[in-house]
Amino acid sequence: MACAIKEKEIKEKVAEICKEFNNDPKELIAILHKSQNHFGFLPKEVQTAIAETIHIPASKVYGVITFYSYFTMEPKGKYPISICMGTACYVKGAEKVLKEFEKQLEIKNGQTTPDGKFSMNTLRCIGACGLAPVIMIGEKVYGSVKPEEVAKIIKEYE
């Protein structure tokens, strides 16, 4: 029952979003952006609802979502941690910072902690190469991060 209500809610919201873009299949990427902003991620239910509303195959929606790294089918943690692995960050030791986060949080890159608090992913470049290595937690940027500072940074969110 609870599930049916949720599905109805999803369908209504998706219909509302698609309508903003005139149910135009050419606006699929814009629709996905808006849907991800609202739901936090793009689960199967949202994908099929979009496909039905704008009359395209669900496989096409899935194809587009999996093509672009910005879209995710997994829920993110309350505090999403993004570690920049751009070249400047890489040459300045971002890999060690990544390893330290994995060790401290006991999750692998791309996963979310069981309590849903932290999730981790790597980014290609956030254009803050002057601060390399850079990480972001939510909207907050941490520059020149050293592996030994990782524990302290995580503590800020506990």
Binding site: M85, G86, L123, G127
Partner: protein
């Protein structure tokens, strides 16, 4: 030594309030558009051709020629697209222009629209650039309000509307045909050229695509003249280029210098040299499509041709400086990891070939490489370059080839001597305790997660190489510099 810089694309960044149209107008803003609209379409195209401006997004195609092609195609509907999908790791000049001087891009797009006969433009921008998006939206609303965009611009009867389209994190979308696919709501997979976008682009209509930095040069060229612009730079590459200086260099950030400036001037004069007095080893230009330049290239004047001749490319202008602590096969592997992930998967050489290149590099950095692998790397790289569909695949092996050419010694050491001189490849290094320096404090033994260190307190300690997992914990803990990496 900052005087070597000449700012054209970045002329307004930091000097104006990007959210205030009158600030832009006070610095000759929209003057170029007004000049353009009072002349013929042909004049604008000829001015840009004469200036010698070439695409700043990486390809280096002459901008004026591109406009001329799009202008020559007959069509009731044409589009101007600004490529702001800056996905090159280590490059952030486009973001800087969009955040610091959004009107210059809007103005240039309108100029281009007039030149090629388009009344609609789109900026394809990364969703990861929220501030740039916000400022563009403000600028677009202001320009429209002031009659500088929209219907009947400056009372001349010329109409030009600009909209935003968002990217979603796919490097290949920087390629113009992939970008257009993405704008149409599809997976960003490139298509065969011809037809070129100038003939059949967005929605099947003639389309001109230019990069942000290219557009940012346009108003300055029109205001100051093609001759002025062409007087800066080298024979084949006119004007300036913005570089994003990053990595192991003292002064990091964006610099704009005339084409033809040498790497030495960029890294040692403007960049202030290498951090911590280390030795310069390589400069990587052109992002994942480029290559590594070495000490012998330091005095080469940088332009499109010289970088290509040196096995690299201009790319969007990322310039990452590396020192002796960076391992070149590992750097090549890093770039391949990127291309393998970003390959759209449409054509076989890029999808499968790069994966194999990555696997061979992985073998080498893990100490299992052979001399034969080095030959395979080279042969396969050349096949991928000559048979891939788009620019991504055609340039993906560049980091491999350029490091192989310039740092063959290092590859040789990895595969024959099983040594990594930069001490980066874990499989090829050893942590060793120097008996003379060890005081037997036991700190390393307590830190070791693998119980690989033996020794009693106040006695010399020893690392069992078979048990050692090379995590480096002991190395960090030792206060007496008694542990070395070999």
């Amino acid at each position: 030594m900052k005087s070597k810089q000449i700012k054209i694309a970045l002329r307004n960044c930091g000097h104006i309030d990007p959210e205030d149209l009158s600030d832009y107008i006070a610095r000759d803003g929209y003057k170029a558009l007004s000049t353009t609209l009072s002349g013929s379409r042909e004049t604008v195209v000829q001015t840009i051709i004469k200036s010698g401006l070439r695409g700043r997004g990486g390809g280096g195609f002459p901008t004026g020629k591109k406009w001329e092609l799009a202008a020559a195609v007959k069509g009731d509907k044409k589009y101007v697209i600004c490529n702001a999908d800056e996905g090159d790791p280590g490059a952030f000049m486009d973001r800087s222009v969009l955040e610091g001087d959004p009107h210059s891009v809007l103005e240039a797009m309108a100029v281009c629209g007039y030149a090629i006969g388009a009344d609609e433009g789109y900026i394809y921008i990364r969703a990861e650039y929220p501030l740039a998006i916000k400022r563009l939206k403000i600028a677009m609303a202001q320009a429209k309000e002031a009659g500088l965009l929209g219907q009947n611009i400056l009372g001349t009867g010329f109409n030009f509307e600009i909209g935003l389209k968002y990217g979603a994190g796919a490097f290949v979308c920087g390629e113009e045909t992939a970008l257009i696919k993405s704008m149409e709501g599809n997976r960003g997979e490139p298509i065969m050229k011809p037809p070129y976008p100038a003939q059949k682009g967005f929605m099947g209509k003639p389309t001109n695509v230019n990069n942000v930095e290219t557009f940012a040069n346009i108003p300055a060229i029109i205001n100051k003249g093609a001759d002025w612009f062409a007087s800066i730079g080298t024979e084949g590459s006119k004007g300036t280029k913005v570089f994003a200086l990053a990595g192991k260099v003292k002064n990091v950030g964006l610099v704009e210098v005339p084409m033809g400036t040498t790497l030495r001037e960029l890294i040692f004069d403007i960049g202030g040299g290498i951090v911590g007095g280390k030795k310069f080893k390589a400069a990587q230009t052109g992002g994942p499509s480029g290559g590594c330049l070495t000490e012998k290239h330091l005095d080469t004047p940088i332009d499109y041709e010289s970088l290509k001749a040196a096995g690299s490319m201009m790319g969007s202008g990322g310039l990452i400086v590396m020192d002796e602590d960076n391992c070149m096969p590992a750097v090549a592997q890093f770039y391949l990891d990127f291309t393998v992930e970003e390959s759209c998967g449409k054509c076989v050489p890029c999808r499968e070939g790069n994966k194999v290149l990555y696997q061979i590099l992985n073998k080498i950095t893990h100490g299992n490489g052979t001399l034969e692998d080095l030959k395979k790397l080279k042969d396969l790289s050349e096949i991928i370059k000559s048979t891939s569909l788009c620019g991504l695949g055609q340039t993906a092996p560049n980091p491999v080839l350029s490091t192989l050419n310039n740092f063959y010694d290092e590859y040789y050491e990895h595969v024959v001597e099983k040594k990594c001189r930069a001490k980066v490849c874990r499989a090829l290094i050893k942590y060793i305790i120097i008996p003379d320096k060890c005081v037997g404090c036991g700190a390393c033994k307590r830190a070791c997660p693998a119980e690989a260190i033996s020794g009693e307190i106040k006695q010399k300690h020893l690392i069992d190489q078979d048990k050692c997992i090379k995590c480096g914990a002991c190395y960090q803990k030792c206060k007496f510099n008694a542990i070395i990496i070999e």
